[in-house]
Symmetry: C2
Subunit: 398 residues, 2 copies
């Protein structure tokens, strides 16, 4: 009999960021003492904000005394936090109720876990370039993967395919890696497609807090019909600097039914069977993010990264390099100069300028010829990287 | 096409502890102001120990400053924590290496997640009475479940079935709910069975720290051959009071291969794709548990719950009631008096003595006629519950 999940044999052995780490480590081994400007992995660098820090200290103290000690948390999340998140949506006239919100350990964890709700015969539809874990997690489930077109001409907005197919559709806006944002029109097309085909959209909103322009949706539920076809997976990783602290949230609307089953009720069943809830301390930290003061603080945090993006775009403009993203996104997606490949460009940046970036090819075939820069680095590193790229250009490395 | 995982339809709608909560809430609604002695759900009541509290405050401070801030954690766990856990095994001559240790969000999360490694055609073998989530998680995966005999005469030690079948075998020692411990001989039988049938044992060691007797294994790897056939899933929930704080660990030995695949490598692939690691703050807390001082502190914690068990067993002895467990376990598994059913006994305890317990029937058919008491309550509640049970007996309710 087959014992193991043989689908694991079908995923590539190594993982994009591990590959990058290896190349950087190899280079550093030969050049000890050199410092790399790390604009590769999308990891934040600004510390947690004061409200969050205060809330966590208080929560730790609660756990230090029998009278205030908290044991098992509700599996779907602390009701107070679920309610705060729902209110945060409602304040923007987005119709989300507390029992539609689930607290998670973060978007990356949730994007894998949520697949359990779906039959393994249902294909996944992943517009590329895309976060590689989308495809990998589905390959490990044995799902077929469909890659629809992305409209390069239209700022990398993904488009539904011409043929109708029922699928689990991945949308990420602002997008990782391209920094593109889905407009209302783009989302309307996808919602119409999903409703028509009985598909389900997994809307990855991990970067929603970087949307700067008023007319760009930050939640898919800003578009009518989305509650009938979409799950929204979000995170505090980028919003509030929680990459190493861990807490996120997922919305599964009460209107979302397939095969006569309510997806919200299925997820409740999943969580009550398969978890014992997210840490009390981390949920208290998340509550602080959604407080009035917390919201002010994270807005300042976004301003830091937005200023980074502005400074970096200015440098690329000066160097005469073409890019997308950066405006409503912490990612800048640069076209590799002079027809170079993305790993080739990666190597030039690493070896000639000690800049770590992420090769576009790592996000799928359509990412070849592009490279991603993360604006989560420190201001000093961003400014210095911009300077070095201008110099590379002047010295004809690019 | 089928969109959803229809196996969800096969799991019972409601969950044991939710049922219990409902009954208690209903009773409280009619008897406002009454206090329940909560010996039902196995949730701890003692606060986190000083070393853990100190480590978490420090970790929060690290996250508050850019110079010490930590972003994404390694997906399989902080190398220092993995190393500390391996050393903790090695000190007891149990051969576990750091790269065999994975940091988790706790045993309940891991017991669900780890199923992803296995083919859904492989049956699960679950000796009952058992933690209900074992079976539920497998039903939700569509697995067939085999229930082998448990030897009631031999202190509830589970026995391998007479026929050979390849399966995912669940063992829990000290057991939830019976409080029974697997002896070396018992584990040797299971390991021989697993090796012979190419089965894999999932050894749930969440209660290992309550083993008091020297000759009882606390890890399955104390038994030769276990590294070829067993995964050990453990947790700090009961060991260090982490039920609401969340952190655990899993051991997947390098010797464990099935279908030509190395389970350890598969789990690395799973974690790197499907998580972004456990919170820095929680891993720092876990490191404190495995420090020298931390180990002293948790030993004192166990003494509190052990003293509870002693006091409660004394009361049951005085009342002339039969029970198992309690000696190497925080659970006492009592035979319902006078041939009563376990929900009937639950109701008598709730209504006549305001004691919440857990009906044995909730752990499978073979648990009918038994009831579980958790010793994780406060000393005062345990002593008072003992007194009330003696009174129930004297007043012939039992």
């Amino acid at each position: 009999m087959i014992c193991m999940n043989l689908n694991y044999m079908k995923v590539k052995e190594s993982y994009l960021f591990a590959d990058i780490r290896k190349r950087i480590d190899a280079w550093l081994a030969d050049h000890s003492g050199q410092r790399i400007l790390r604009l590769g992995i999308g990891d934040v660098t600004q510390p947690l904000t004061p409200s969050v820090v205060k809330a966590m200290h208080e929560a730790v103290e609660d756990q230090a005394r029998a009278e205030t000690f908290h044991g098992y948390m509700p599996e779907c999340g602390d009701p107070q936090l679920r309610s705060l998140i729902a209110q945060w949506y409602q304040k923007r006239n987005i119709p989300v109720e507390a029992d539609e919100v689930f607290v998670s350990s973060g978007a990356s964890d949730e994007l894998g876990d949520i697949l359990h709700l779906f039959d393994r015969q249902m294909p996944a539809m992943i517009p590329e370039p895309a976060y590689p874990a989308y495809a990998d997690a589905n390959v490990m489930d044995g799902r077929e993967i469909i890659f629809p077109d992305t409209d390069m001409e239209n700022g990398f907005q993904p488009l539904p395919p011409e043929h109708d197919v029922q699928a689990l559709i991945y949308l990420c806006s602002p997008d990782n890696p391209t920094g593109a944002v889905c407009t209302r029109e783009c989302l309307e097309k996808w919602i119409a497609y999903a409703v028509r085909t009985d598909s389900v959209i997994l809307f990855d909103a991990a970067y929603e807090s970087f949307v700067f322009e008023e007319n760009i949706p930050r939640s898919i539920y800003e578009i009518p019909g989305a509650k009938e076809c979409a799950i929204e997976i979000s995170s505090l990783s980028k919003t509030a600097g929680f990459t190493g602290t861990r807490c996120g949230y997922t919305v599964i609307p009460m209107e979302l039914k397939r095969d006569g089953m309510l997806l919200n009720a299925m997820w409740v069943r999943n969580r009550t069977t398969r978890t014992n809830g997210v840490s009390y301390i981390l949920q208290k930290a998340a509550m602080a993010v959604f407080s009035e003061q917390g919201q002010k603080e994270v807005a300042e945090l976004h301003e830091v990264y937005r200023a980074n993006a502005k400074a970096f775009m200015k440098a690329l403009d000066e160097a005469g390099l073409y890019y997308a993203g950066g405006k409503n996104s912490p990612y800048i997606w640069m076209k590799c100069p002079e027809g170079k490949g993305s790993w080739e460009t990666f190597d030039i940046l690493l070896k000639q300028a000690q800049i770590a970036a992420t090769p576009g090819a790592g996000f799928g075939e359509s990412g070849e010829g592009w490279i991603r820069f993360s604006m989560f680095a420190s201001k000093e590193d961003i400014v210095e990287a911009g300077r070095r790229i201008i110099a590379l250009r002047n010295e004809k490395y690019f």
